[in-house]
Structure formats: structure tokens, C-alpha cells
Amino acid sequence: MSASLLAADLPYWAQALLRVLGGVVAVLLPAGTIVYVFLFKMMSFMQSRLGPMEAGPYGSMQLFAEVGKWLQKEDITPERADRFIFKIAPLVVLMSTFLLVAVVPFGPDAWFTNFEAGVFYMLAVSSVSVLGILIAGWASANKYSLLGGLRAAGQLIAYELPMVLAVIGVIIQAGTMNLQDIVFAQNAGSMFGWDGLGNPYILTQFVGFIIFMIAVQAELTQTPFDMPIAESELVSGYMTEYSGFRFLTFFIAEFATAGVFSLIASVLFLGGWGIPFAWFGWDTMDSVDNWMNVVGPLIMVTKMMLLSFIIMWVRFSYPRFREDQLQRFAWKVLVPVSLVNIMITAILKVAF
């Protein structure tokens, strides 16, 4: 690592505090941005309306108004609900988001944790949200919620597999499971000896990228995979009985996870925080200039917005699958295709 501006000179408690605050920013900022830019504005423009216009210029303060509204609402717990589980379920879902963001690198030194099994950890903690959703559906003591929770469990477990398999192609190519090293491998790499663009894995792992994005869509339970939520049918599924702050927690978790998954996809496939290292003659991680710690997060946010745009675009234009159809899609299409992708990647890796 290069000379650490931030981490090395500060006492442990200050580092920890910075990391927690940074984590909160890294979760809430994408969530707020995505909700305002995509959910409020882009969706409205797609649907020939203006969206919120009253609160702040172009409705930019609408989000704060919404949060204020949700905080004022009564916190209802159904009479027959399993109270403790009902109350912790949204926190479990949000916790998964915080755990996910912990491994995302934003710059050469701008990371929360940097350890070797980053991809493995990321895939593991992303499934914690399934637990939260399942217990939310169960604890609500509502038939609709139960159906939604069970559907979510089935769907999220089914789409975990294609996601893991899609990432394996990247791991094979990079030869590491450390997300920071994956960023380095993409930006320091070259395509047939030409290093002007580095070697973003979206080019070589295009199939993997598509499968990953489809799986992300399903993990986020966004349309066309929103069978667990299904407003017109299950009336928001596992979220039906939640109100006030607990609903807000689910809401934040949904969009923050969309942002974090976009960040992870950009790390895995789009080169992460880096710009092609050949432009500045960097050849090791230590030689990367310190200003990348400032520019890196901006690049990451740009890429996140791009990928979230795709997620939201699909969300607003497609109808939803039935749950047996989406299971069939996962097991009969995505899993075989990603297995073939792994095989081809492995063969090419050995050949070159």
C-alpha cells in the first residue's frame, strides 16, 4: 500500500469511528441518490409525469420530507406477531447492506476492510438479507406476508447460485478473491498487449456480467423478479405489516443494497475505482498517486449510477415473472450458462 494519509497516523478509535461514519455515508448516500434520481424523477419522466416538484428545487428535498413522514408514523406491531423477531427483521436486512459495503474498495487506500477472501465474504453476507426477509414474512402473522417471505426465500436462494457462478469467471481471470487486487488486475492489465484501457472484465466476462446483473435484480427483488413483493397481488409481501421507521429501514435497505450491488458489479466488471494505470505509468498498487483516494470514490459513484440506472430501467418497464417461471429461469438457463462460462474462462486461462 502507498503511504497512508488517513489510516496509519490516527489512533484506533478514530479509525474505527471514521470507518463507521464512512460506512453510514456509503450506505445512505447511494440510497438517497438512487431514490431521488431514479425512483422519483426517472420513473416519473418515463411515465409522462413530473414527479415531486414542491419540496425544494425540482423536489430535491422530497426525500427528507418522506423520511420525516415515516418517522412520525405510528410503529405498529400486529397483535399476533412474534414481536422480537418482527422488530429485528428490518435491521437484519439493513445489516446485510452494511456488511456488504465493508469490503468495497473506493480508492487505493479508501477502503473499510481489505482482506483476501473479499469476494467470498461479499457473497456470504449478501445472503443474510434472506434471513431478514424470511423472518419478517413469518413474524408478521399475515398470510400475504408469509407467502411473500417464502417466495423471497426460494427466489433469493435460487439466484444466489448464478451470482456465485458468474463471479467465479472473474476470480479465475484475476487469480485472486481480494476485491482490491481485482481492481488492480483490471486497471493494470492489457488487452493483447494494448493497455490503453486496462482490461475491464466486462469485455472478457460479458456473459458473467449479464448473469450477475440478472442475479442482482433478483436478489434485490426488483421487477421482473419482484414476486415476493408484488404490490398488486401480495400487497408488498413481507413488508405489508411494517410501518413507520421499520418500513423506512426496509426501504433504505432495498435501495442501499441496489447501490452497493452496483458498486460491487463495477468493482468486479468495470474496473472499480481505477482509471487505466498505463495513463499515469503506475505499475504497482503502491505507485498509485494519493489523489486517487479522492477521485476514486467519484468514479465509483459514477459507475454505480450507471449500473443502478440499468437496474431501475428494467424495473420500471417490465412485468414480473411468476415464481415457478423465475425458478425455471434460474436453474435451467442461468446456472448452465454460467457453468459453461466458467469452463470456457478456465480453458482460456490455461491456454493463454
Binding site: S48, K143, L147, S232, E233, F316, P319, R320, Q325
Partner: protein, 393 residues
């Protein structure tokens, strides 16, 4: 006692015990069905319909619609209203295509009085009738997307329906409840500029149909959700008394606009009755889409040769309908809607029987929902297209 104990084979005893344990285990493993109430307050029911569904997992074992949550007693109310007042009531039955509700009642009253509206009034009636069909069914097309999880089409439907509602408002003064039809003709003539404006709007609506065909009907997910789902064969559809697009989607070539001779202008223009052989949800939606397009063509043709003249026949100031009984039904946006009016020569009807399309259309729900999955309940209900006001009239 000891002797009986010794008589029973120990092996036999253990066998019985094992059987009992097995039985208990089976009882424990046997899953219990779940009864799911869809409605009365549910976004998929367009109001307050309740579907009681007994589920095995996600599969429906038994389903029953339970209506009557919104009973408004219009049949009874007509008995204490005069004939001109009844139109204000009945255009609230199918609240999305309200002008179309007035027409059959007025035609029945005219039949009893043996008068006929002048040709221009007939033409304008037909135009407004088709406009309310377009307003109604275009909203159905958008709502279909919402039921299937696509949230964008409904806003396109609202946008383009607004043009049609503006036309209706321009002509009648009421967006939803025109109350424009009178015994012997219409309240007023068309406003200036209506014809040109209508042509422009009809073009927009045809564009809307193309848009929906591309956005929704061409979507593979939409097709996989609707094709082969909720199939109603021809004979079953006839037995349950379905009407309108639900019947035509099952391959029955039946349209009251064409098959009946009414004092309306449908048989003066050239148009086609769309049918579909499949009878599934997709067919029902597809037939409705084609009908919107066909309706715009009907309106265009009617505008071409709209006759001049008065819009009101000579009727007495105080309308008393002579004694008698009359049945008139028309092909409303939702299906066959008819009024059986019994008159005793008073100012108001003695008894009115309203045959509304949705009530008969949802009677097939128990049959068609058997064995489908929970998400398909919503698809099938959406494709059957009922309006609660039309069920609990």
C-alpha cells in the same frame, strides 16, 4: 387378564404400535390448506370484491367470489325516479364507460314509447358510446400492466384516456358521468370543433394501441404470464353466460353491435368483430386491444358521414311511458348490458332489471381459478376485466 396378554402376539403388538406411530407421523406431515381472502380491500379487485381462495401451497384448490360489498340498489332506486332521472343513476354502474350505460336504458324507454331518435342523434350516440368504450378499455390495458407488475403502461393509459375524457367532457359537460342521453335524442348537439379534435385524438389512441402492443403484448414475460393461463373453452364460456371480449376471446363470434338491429349507427359503417381461438388470458387482453383500435376506426368513419338535422325527436314535456315491457341490451365495454324495463304508464319505471356484464363474467371465477397459482389469480381476474360497480349494481 394375564391370559389375554399372553394371547396377543408381541410381534403383532409392535406392528400395531408402528402403524399408529406412522399414522401420527402422517397426520403431522400432512399440510393443511390455507384460506386466503383476496379482498374486499385489495389492489387487484378494482374495488371491494372478495375472492375466497383455499390454497394448497401456492395452488388454488377452490375459489369463490363473494360480491355485494358495494350494493347500491340501482334497480330498486329506478322505481322511485322518473325516466329522465334514471340516466343519472345508471351511468354510475360501469363508472369507466358511463355513457354506454345510459344508452340501453334510453333505448328501452324509446322502444316502449315507440319513438326513435333522429339520425344525427343516433350517430352522436354511437360516437359517444364508442368513445366511452375506448376510455374504458384503454384504462384496462394500462391496468393490466400494473396487475402484472409493469408500472409504466398505466400512466400511458391515463395520459391517452385523458384526451378521450376531454372529448366526452367537451360534448356532454361531464367527464365520468355525462348524463347526456335523453329519451328521443340527446341533450345538445356537438360543440364546434369536436369532429376535428376527435380525429386527432383517435390517431393518438391508435398510437397508444401500437405502443401497448410493443411494450406489453410483445413482452416475453407478459406472454409467459398470460398464454395458456386461465383457458376458458368455447362451450364453458357459453354455459357461464360470458359476454363481450371474454366470450369473443374464446372463439365465439358474437357481438351485439353487429348481431342486433338497434336505432344506432353501427351497421352503417364497416368494421370487424375480433375473435381469438385460444380463450386464455392473453386472448382476452388481445381482443380488447384490437377492439380499442377498431373503435377508433368506427368513430373515424362515423365522423365522415355524420348526418345533419335535429338531435331531439318530438317528445312530450312530461314523459310518461305507456304500459308495457321492453328488453334492450347493447354491447358495452365490459360485455352485454341490458335493461328490462316494466312500465305501468307512470312517470317512472315500475320495475327495472339490469343485466350487467361483469356480474355474469365473474361467475366463471370458481371454475377458471381451480388449480391455478396465486399470481395467476391476479392475471385471470385482470383479464376477465370486471368493474365493481357493474357487479354490485
Amino acid at each position: 387378564m394375564t391370559s389375554t396378554e399372553s394371547l396377543i402376539d408381541r410381534r403383532q403388538l409392535s406392528y400395531i404400535a408402528a402403524q399408529a406411530a406412522d399414522a401420527r407421523l402422517n397426520v403431522e406431515l400432512e399440510t393443511e390448506g390455507m384460506t386466503l381472502n383476496i379482498g374486499p380491500q385489495h389492489p387487484a379487485t378494482h374495488g371491494t370484491l372478495r375472492i375466497i381462495a383455499r390454497l394448497d401451497g401456492e395452488q388454488v384448490v377452490w375459489a369463490e367470489p363473494s360480491c355485494g360489498y358495494m350494493h347500491r340498489g340501482y334497480e330498486k332506486l329506478t322505481e322511485v325516479r322518473t325516466y329522465p332521472q334514471v340516466t343519472a343513476l345508471v351511468n354510475r354502474i360501469d363508472w369507466l364507460g358511463s355513457f354506454a350505460n345510459e344508452v340501453p336504458f334510453i333505448l328501452a324507454a324509446e322502444k316502449l314509447m315507440a319513438i326513435e331518435a333522429p339520425p344525427r342523434a343516433q350517430w352522436i350516440r354511437t360516437i359517444l358510446f364508442e368513445l366511452s368504450r375506448i376510455a374504458n378499455v384503454s384504462l384496462f390495458l394500462g391496468d393490466l400492466g400494473v396487475q402484472l407488475g409493469a408500472i409504466t403502461p398505466v400512466f400511458m393509459a391515463f395520459r391517452d384516456r385523458e384526451y378521450v375524457l376531454n372529448l366526452i367532457e367537451g360534448a356532454t359537460g361531464g367527464r365520468f358521468h355525462p348524463n347526456f342521453d335523453r329519451i328521443g335524442g340527446l341533450k345538445e348537439d356537438l360543440p364546434a370543433g369536436f369532429i376535428d379534435e376527435t380525429r386527432v385524438v383517435m390517431k393518438k389512441l391508435r398510437n397508444f394501441c401500437d405502443e401497448m402492443e410493443n411494450l406489453l403484448f410483445g413482452n416475453e414475460i407478459f406472454q409467459s404470464r398470460t398464454r395458456g393461463i386461465g383457458v376458458i373453452p368455447k362451450d364453458v364460456a357459453m354455459q357461464y353466460g360470458l359476454s363481450g371480449a371474454n366470450l369473443r376471446a374464446s372463439g365465439v363470434d358474437w357481438d351485439l353491435r353487429r348481431d342486433q338491429t338497434l336505432p344506432m349507427a353501427w351497421n352503417k359503417v364497416d368494421w370487424k368483430v375480433w375473435t381469438h381461438p385460444d380463450g386464455d388470458s392473453f386472448a382476452r387482453c388481445w381482443v380488447r386491444l384490437q377492439e380499442v383500435r377498431e373503435s377508433t376506426l368506427i368513430v373515424d368513419q362515423l365522423l365522415d358521414d355524420i348526418p345533419s338535422g335535429p338531435v331531439m325527436a318530438k317528445v312530450p314535456r312530461i314523459i310518461k311511458v305507456p304500459e308495457g315491457e321492453a328488453w334492450v341490451s347493447t354491447e358495452n365495454p365490459l360485455g352485454e348490458m341490458g335493461y328490462y324495463v316494466v312500465s305501468k304508464g307512470d312517470l317512472g319505471p315500475f320495475r327495472t332489471k339490469i343485466r350487467s356484464a361483469s356480474f355474469n363474467n365473474i361467475s366463471i371465477v370458481p371454475w377458471v381459478l381451480k388449480g391455478v397459482y396465486v399470481p395467476d389469480i391476479i392475471t385471470i381476474l385482470a383479464s376477465l376485466y370486471f368493474i365493481l360497480g357493474d357487479i354490485d349494481r
